[in-house]
Symmetry: C2
Subunit: 343 residues, 2 copies
């Protein structure tokens, strides 16, 4: 099942971006992220043992913590010198972790980053409730910063994320989903938190509105690019490196851009295949391989990556108004890394 997505159609990428790394960003935020990690451990403590157990399971499972890193790097780039960026970054990670716990229940996922998902170990009940607890803790922490502007941004993101998840549920398994509808879903369920995470960096640094908007746009477009690449990776052999099942989305009937493009570009017979396998959930062992073959034939994976490059470029341009700084160049390189990871 080892399918490597062809990227040679993508002529605009030079050798510099081929080797883009997130290491520069890691190094810059490392001291602050250690404080974020301490706060996360602190705030998952509870006398109710199951809470730190479940939370720790997720927190230890090797997520990149990209979202809180955005908050830290944005705050640093905006010259912020207080401690609220630590608290807000931890809140952002808690919001994300809560979403993962609830997502796994909704998607009936068995694995999360290559390890059994929390719901497989502790049950759906614990996943729902510990998710609620982390969401409550996230709001408690935000309130402690006393930044009403940051609170407004993050509480709005929480509502938008949940709305996006419901939208995805309603659109789920509909092979006639348009690219726009798909973008609306990932805009809400992924990009909204990236946008909020970056924007609050400028907000707590009390920077002018145009910088809030710039970081919002940066985060949103980075989030879109990130999710597009994720959705392409779900059909790629490289996926195994990330500790995920290949074809999870296919088996769950989740309509992502590679399917949207393949369905639209396919002939009658191909559409019948997508309808049977994804809409009606009538799948055989060989169907995933056939799905990937159709995606290659229709350039669906390569074009999903091209779309990701488009949003990556928008993210880069959004940062243009900021003066040069280590943080800015680390964020720009992180965009390239997200778009190119595992290819």
């Amino acid at each position: 099942m080892g399918v490597v997505v062809p990227i040679d159609g993508d002529k605009e990428r030079g050798s510099k971006q081929q080797s883009a790394t997130i290491q520069k960003l890691f190094d810059l935020v490392h001291p602050d992220m250690q404080r974020v990690n301490e706060l996360i451990i602190n705030r998952t403590f509870s006398d109710v043992e199951m809470i730190p157990e479940v939370a720790q399971h997720l927190i230890d499972s090797g997520g990149k913590r990209l979202r809180p890193m955005l908050t830290i790097a944005a705050a640093q780039m905006c010259g912020y010198h207080g401690a609220h960026h630590i608290t807000l970054a931890a809140s952002v990670e808690f919001m994300h972790t809560a979403t993962l716990l609830h997502d796994d229940v909704v998607d009936e996922s068995e694995l999360r980053r290559g390890k059994p998902s929390a719901r497989m170990v502790w049950g759906n009940e614990a996943s729902v409730l510990v998710g609620d607890y982390l969401l409550g803790q996230a709001f408690k922490m935000m309130v402690e910063t006393e930044s009403l502007a940051a609170l407004a941004i993050l509480s709005n993101a929480a509502a938008v994320i949940a709305e996006g998840e419901v939208l995805q549920l309603a659109a789920s398994k509909d092979t006639s989903t348009t690219e726009d509808a798909y973008l609306a879903v990932i805009g809400a369920k992924t990009a909204a938190l990236f946008a909020a995470a970056a924007e609050i960096g400028a907000v707590i640094a009390d920077r002018p509105k145009e910088e809030h908007r710039a970081l919002h746009s940066f985060g949103r477009n980075l989030g879109l690019a990130f999710q597009l690449v994720d959705d392409a990776l779900d059909y790629s052999g490289q996926q195994a490196l990330l500790g995920k099942h290949i074809g999870d989305d296919f088996r769950e009937g989740k309509i992502t851009l590679p399917v949207v493009l393949s369905f639209r570009r396919g002939d009658e017979e191909e559409r019948a295949f997508w309808k049977r396998s994804m809409q009606e959930g009538d799948q055989t062992e060989a169907d995933l391989e056939h799905a990937v073959a159709l995606m290659e034939k229709n350039d669906a994976l390569a074009d999903t990556i091209k779309r990701a490059h488009h949003y990556g470029a928008m993210a880069r341009d959004a940062l243009a108004i900021f003066p040069e700084s280590e943080q800015k160049s680390a964020l720009l390189e992180a965009v390239d890394f997200c778009v190119e990871r595992a290819f």
Copy 2:
């Protein structure tokens, strides 16, 4: 299965309280509650159709809206003249509704107030996600009031409620649960929101700290009394009047005070019965009737109601520092109503 809990052991209640009504409270808060209801309808609107559908299903299903009424009455009693009590009351109801949606998933409930639960109509997925959406909206609304003190109280309550639910999950089906452990669970999962709902009335009215504390204590003890009565009603014939199954808690193995008391007061044979039927979940049709008979033999239902009277009395005394007012007497009568309902 029509079991009426004996209340004649409860000599301190005169004929006045026997006829306690919540009508006085209803009438006082009615104009404000109409604005709360409008706001609730407004804020459940979403282009994602499933959201208003699921939310409306719950909102229409005849809940008493006791929690937002507490916020409104407390704010009125504290002489508040703004509009934030409307927004906060709607937030409180959204938090409660979100909890109900998640509870039904966790408990695998088929009915909610006599109607099919949302998860039976739209599935567990929608219940989890619409719950998350309502929680997000609740926080958005709170932030709009710009009251950091109210935000701190409500976000803390959100974390405590979820912690209580996880605690209940961990303690679930353990017949050796102590009364203290049971109180810790209902203190978190029910009383914390009652306490917060009442307290924020004094907070937005900018009253002295002792009034915050008094309303917190009032709400907390009312919440404990309310839940104790609820737990007794689950084994009472009167339960059918409230549109609930009798014995839901029994079937779910949920250890409430009537079981805690029956288990502790019972002999070896009785304890073996509770362990088999609730801890091991090995139940026959006749077991519920036997459970109720054991509760009567051990005065477990009557004593659960007595405990409720104790917390009701504490709630009444907590209000003593407030000068006489229509709101105060309506709240006092509401305590009696909650303790005596359906008996």
